[in-house]
Symmetry: C2
Subunit: 340 residues, 2 copies
């Protein structure tokens, strides 16, 4: 194993000089810097992470707590996890993966052991019990999702209310008057998952403003469940011409069912999906969709933590940021003017 002392000897300087060259925290002459750098290269030196963390009281690791529950579309979770990792690396940080089944105790463990300098929490509930722990430990954190009380931490999320409103506007602009909103399974609403409630609220408000009649129905995302939901919608409101789908699993079945029921998309019925563009492109017809970037979510969360850490490092009090990312509507082939 190559240590900083080996590098120092090789370069003919003291080990503190090597440290300062590497951290840039003190002025070092051009000549010395060059010699040290080439010794580092020659010996293949990588600072020992434990020693560094111990001496500097910073691990250069952030923890990412991912939900075990999979009612949220899994590829999106993965995309967030990967973007958090990539963004963290750009700041010289690594990412520790922990699962939400560890609960508040997991957060305490990570923070108290100094394993991580900061924590990113996914799938945050409105009244999340991990938040008081974070505050008590003085751990820097960023939430992906909105909490009721986010004092002492930063958060970022999609603006789901705006996404819902975009759907309502688009269908209203096309002349649709009766809309069905196919949502997540009822469990998601009972849990008061923010993304589900806020989307629905945003849609509802805008639909009201635009004079739309609409129905909200839950749906589990299987073929059977979608068939049942669609049948009830058409029984209750035969005049429905617009569909908004938030549950990714229901999209394929819905398209199949509309087709086999004799309704052509977009001539007889328009469908707007709330899902990733990548997914929207896979169907026939390609779907008009409202999207927010999962990558941005991860990147912003990491940036927030980095700003908090920098503030603490400089002896200040970190600012509690609250960022909502604006969703985008991409018109494709699944929406068109309402039939007469």
């Amino acid at each position: 194993m190559v240590t900083i002392a080996d590098v120092a000897r090789h370069a003919g300087v003291s080990s503190s000089t090597v440290s300062y060259v590497l951290s840039g925290k003190r002025a070092i002459s051009e000549e010395t810097r060059r010699r040290v750098r080439s010794s580092v290269q020659a010996l293949g030196y990588h600072p020992n992470a434990g020693a560094r963390a111990l001496a500097a009281k910073r691990s250069h690791i952030i923890a990412l707590m991912v939900p075990l529950r999979t009612d949220v579309y899994v590829p999106v979770m993965m995309e967030i996890a990967i973007s958090v990792t990539t963004a963290a690396r750009q700041h010289g940080f690594d990412v520790l993966l922990i699962t939400s089944d560890e609960g508040p105790g997991g957060v305490r463990r990570i923070a108290a052991s100094g394993l991580a300098d900061g924590v990113v929490l996914m799938d945050v509930e409105l009244d999340d019990e991990r938040i008081p722990v974070l505050r008590a430990q003085g751990t820097q954190a960023a939430l992906i999702g909105l909490a009721d009380d986010a004092r002492g931490l930063s958060c970022v999320d999609h603006d789901f209310a705006a996404a819902g409103a975009l759907c309502a506007d688009h269908l209203a602009d096309l002349g649709h008057r009766e809309i069905a909103f196919i949502g997540y399974g009822s469990g998601v609403y009972h849990r008061h998952a923010g993304y589900a409630e806020r989307t629905l609220a945003g849609f509802r408000d805008r639909a009201g403003q635009r004079g739309l009649r609409f129905l909200h129905r839950t749906c589990e995302g299987t073929y059977e469940s979608t068939a049942g939901t669609l049948a009830r919608v058409l029984a209750d409101r035969p005049g429905t011409t617009g569909f908004v789908v938030q549950n990714e699993g229901a999209i394929g079945p819905l398209l199949s069912l509309l087709r086999s029921g004799g309704r052509t998309v977009p001539e007889d019925a328009s469908v707007v999906a709330l899902c990733q563009d990548q997914l929207a492109e896979q169907f026939a017809p390609r779907l008009t969709a409202v999207t927010g970037s999962a990558q941005d979510l991860g990147r912003v969360a990491v940036d927030q933590i980095m700003r908090r850490l920098a503030a603490v490092h400089d002896g200040g009090r970190p600012a509690d940021e609250r960022v909502l990312l604006t969703p985008v509507l991409t018109v494709r082939d699944s929406t068109g003017p309402a039939p007469h």
Copy 2:
């Protein structure tokens, strides 16, 4: 911050005694152990991870390198990542997430800095350039996937050849004679991805033994691509009655297309999917599928690393294990006797 010295003072013992109580590496009297434990509780002590890693030369972290590429079904990757994390925690280890875009350099960085005690590599190519690095660094590793030369490391994977054979056997048993194998996009085969090639080879061999005629066609997993693939299959072999689908994205479109083409499943055509049970259950009809547990994959990989670390710790040479998990065929509603 609570240190081991605080606990020692509180319990009226020396800090080494506290350390021995916690690690169990020396005999400690019942009485002392109780006092120390309750002091740990009372003060909320968590050992500092950096100090521990530095002194013990073990970080109690394993790194998990996940692919950025998403041609493999993402939820499966996520399931593996989560099962690795869960299994690691049961051994008192945490998981560091790194992305494969860091390449061999990432592996070197993690190993040389002592950040992780072991590495789990996903999406391994037959001739993977990270493997020599692992060997050179003497890092303990487990691969998920098979490499050409796995000396010095352990590996685990699904027995994809057996999975392919199961599909052929099932369709042959039902009397089908002409089968189409709908695979991944051509890029996957050009890359010589092990899972794709081995499944196909296993299917091909067994199909040969059972006297089946078959066609292998690549498919990108979009609706258009599946439509094109199916059209070509039916043009080349109008008598095809059995379908094996390995590309998750092609399943939904294939079912839709068969239905709209007037072929009822399973009366006119049988479909066997190579995918997770959860996914197979979502379609109508529910799909007969060949599955391997992604959870087991992660768990076994972690167990392999733990055994390797234990062997090194005991001064021995770790055994290079090679485990293939047996796939399971679950018959559901998408396969039936071949039509006359």
